[in-house]
Symmetry: C2
Subunit: 192 residues, 2 copies
C-alpha cells in the first residue's frame, strides 16, 4: 500500500473517510464492526476499502497506530516531570485508561501487545522501547527491580488490557496494575 507517488485526490479522500469511519466504529464500542458497514459509513464500496487496506486487520492496525504513537510519546514527558518509578506507574495507568475508553482500544492493545502478529510489529517495538525507557530509568535510580524487559512487561499489560471490558473492569485493571507495579518495585535496592 505505501505507494511511492502521492495518492490521487479522490483516493486520498476515500482513504481518510474509511479511516474515520473505522475509528468511529472501533473506538466507540463496536470493535468488530463489519467491513461492509465501515465501507457504507465511509460512503464507498467494499472494493474501495480493499484497495486501500489489504485486509480488515490492516485497517484496524492503521486506526490504532496513531493511538500508539500518542501513547508512546508519554514516557519522555513523564520522565521529565516525575521520578522514574512514578513515571512508570503513571504510564501503566495511562495504558489502562486508554484501554478503558472503549472496547476497541482494549482489543487493539491486546492484539498489539499479546500477540506476535507481524501486523503489529511496529507498534509493538515502539511500545517495548517506551517501556524499556521507563524501566531503565527506574533501575538506574534503584527504585525498580532489575532484569525485566519492556517486552515482558508489555505482555503482562497486553493481558490486562485484553480483559473483555465488563462491569467493574476498569477498577480491576487499575488494581491489577498497582499489584504489578509493586511487583516491579519488590526487591529493588531503594524500593519505597
Amino acid at each position: 500500500m505505501p505507494s511511492s507517488r502521492p495518492l490521487r485526490s479522490d483516493a486520498r479522500g476515500n482513504r481518510e473517510a474509511l479511516l474515520a469511519a473505522a475509528r468511529e466504529a472501533f473506538l466507540t464500542g463496536d470493535a468488530d464492526a463489519h467491513v461492509k458497514e465501515i465501507a457504507r459509513r465511509a460512503g464507498v464500496a467494499i472494493g474501495t476499502l480493499y484497495r486501500h487496506f489489504d485486509t480488515r486487520e490492516a485497517l484496524v492496525e492503521e486506526v490504532y497506530r496513531q493511538e500508539v504513537d500518542e501513547l508512546c510519546a508519554a514516557p519522555g514527558e513523564l520522565l521529565g516531570r516525575h521520578a522514574p518509578d512514578e513515571a512508570l506507574r503513571r504510564f501503566l495507568l495511562l495504558l489502562v485508561e486508554h484501554a478503558a475508553v472503549g472496547k476497541g482500544m482494549a482489543v487493539a492493545l491486546e492484539s498489539i501487545m499479546a500477540t506476535d502478529s507481524p501486523v503489529f510489529d511496529d507498534a509493538r517495538t515502539q511500545m517495548e522501547q517506551a517501556l524499556d525507557q521507563l524501566l531503565e530509568a527506574g533501575t538506574a535510580v534503584g527504585t525498580i527491580r532489575d532484569g525485566v524487559s519492556g517486552r515482558t512487561l508489555l505482555r503482562a499489560l497486553g493481558g490486562i488490557c485484553g480483559m473483555r471490558p465488563t462491569e467493574g473492569w476498569r477498577d480491576e485493571a487499575v488494581h491489577i496494575t498497582a499489584i504489578l507495579f509493586d511487583g516491579l518495585r519488590f526487591g529493588a535496592p531503594d524500593a519505597g
Copy 2:
C-alpha cells in the same frame, strides 16, 4: 442438553468420540479447529455434533471443564504441603504450565478467566474460589497483602495465559507471574 434419563448407548459413544476428537484438536495445537473437522475426526456428521453441543463454544467448554476441575483441586493439596504464600506461588505457576502445554489450553484459560461469557460461569466461579482460598490463607498468616480478590487475580492470570504462545512465551509468563506474585507480597505485614 442435560437430559434426565441416560443417553442411548450409541449416543453416548458419539458424544465421547466428539469430546475425544475435540480434545485432541484443542489441546494439541489447533485451538480453532473447525466443527466439521472435529465431527469428521469423531466419525459423525455435523448434525450429531450439534445434537450434543448447542454451539462450538459449548463443546470447547466441555473439553476444558475437566482441566479446570483438575486445576482447582490443587490449592487444597498445596496448602496442606506448603506455607500459604508458597502454595499460591506454586498454583500460579501451575496455571502457567497448564496454559503452556498447548495453545488450546491457553486460549481456553483466557476465555474462562478474562471474559464474562456465561458459558464459563461455572469454571470461573470454581477458579475464583480456588484463588480466594489461597489468598485468604496467605493474608491470615500475613505473607500476602490484603484486599485482593480471587476474581481480580483471575483476571490478571487470564491475561497472562491469554498471551498467544510463541517463542519464549513460557519463560516470559513465568517471569510475569513471579513479578505479580511479588506484588501480592508487597506491603504484607510479614512479607519475605
